[in-house]
Amino acid sequence: MKIAVFGATGVVGSSLLPLLAPEHEVVAVSRSAHAAESGIRWVAGDASSPNDVARAIEGAEVVYYLVHSLGSRDFERQDRAAAENVAAASEDADVRQIVYLGGLGDDDAGASAHLRSRRETGERLAAGTTPVTTLRAAMIVGKGSAAFETIVALVDRLPAMITPSWVSTPTQPIALDDVGRYLAGVCGNHAVLGESFDVGGPEVMTYRQMIERIATLRGRRPLIVEVPVLTPRLSSLWLHLVTPVGASVARPLIEGLKNPTIAREERLRTLLPFELTSFDDAARQAFGQKKKAST
């Protein structure tokens, strides 16, 4: 099958390509030119350009949409426009399936701009006639994941943290490898056309617990003091100062942390059964450490 992957250089796209390439003809789409790889044809293109999109998906049966504009001032508008482009082009090219990775918690009435944008992107993709398969995930635990790297940087750089109340928000992080397996598993699967699935990891934890777990893995013991008032703006500026994540990315992420991001259902686990990676093992992999041997 010919498959086009938008957002191929991103964290998720990069881990998906090696899973698809052995079985499919993969066209990886990214905004910048990229050296060819075995089994993967790279195409320079922007999801917001109708011509680029049409060229990239020509002949494709499945399109992966792993693009977001987080960090741009008007990311919501850009994401909507790009999704509309891909939906329209997919319809014209008789694509059989669009696979989209959205965000858990995006259907909450009080969802942040980031999560709202994830939901709207999914809605724009589904507005065409091409069936969309949506996977909704919380924080992805893997190297390069902005949210995960932010927490790791906080743990590594701060002996003490004054944290806002969002550290008590529960979430269900999932390993990057597991997201890749789910994404690859739904490819061309008729049972999942037009369906939306929650994909969560095996554990529910608060961000505070996540910080503590990462700290243990890194051999650190930061002091965490939770305060009731610390605005997303202040938090994002602080993250901008002490982590590699810019304020423009940090702020929408932080605003999204007030919403619990928990899977409501697990139908995809029935369709694609495999053992989910524990948080600690996923984090170890991200750090380049070996998984702890199972007992």
Binding site: S168, D198, G200, E203, V204, Q209, R264, E265, E266
Partner: protein, 175 residues
Amino acid sequence: MTPVLHGWDTTERVLDSGGFESTQRARASDPVVESSSSGARWLGVAYWQAVDRFTRGGIRARWTDDGGRLTLLGGFNLLTFGAPELEFSDNLVSCRYPIHDGLLAVRAGGSVTLAQRRLDDGFELSVVVQEYLPRLAARVGAPSWTGALYAKGQSPFHAAVSRRYFDLLARRAGT
């Protein structure tokens, strides 16, 4: 499709043990959660969200798979709960939190159970508090007015949260 809710009712009684039993129910045309551990957990998640929203953050719910607590204005522990016990079958999905302690409990004991039960003609959603010993209720033999804070405050508040909870479950099931 958003499940249609109808048939709301709320009851409360004192058990022979002295513990309180409070039950709120609503009927739903369709299931609000699936029969799985995620579905059962979601019954709990939505309840904590309903508490947060109903009080506009005045009472904050903090919870994980290890347990939870309700805090007043971010400080005082009103109630603390143990790890949720999740059950699911074709006919019943439930999430039961044992009550551990807190300012509103005389002592550890009792539980809050959030459930979806299949009926012949739809589904029953329920919030059942069992064997709870509220600190604000009147003691045995004491004048009834000593329990006014519970009877006129905590009890109707709990019922109102439950009603909001059922609405939230139905709304989220429709998205």
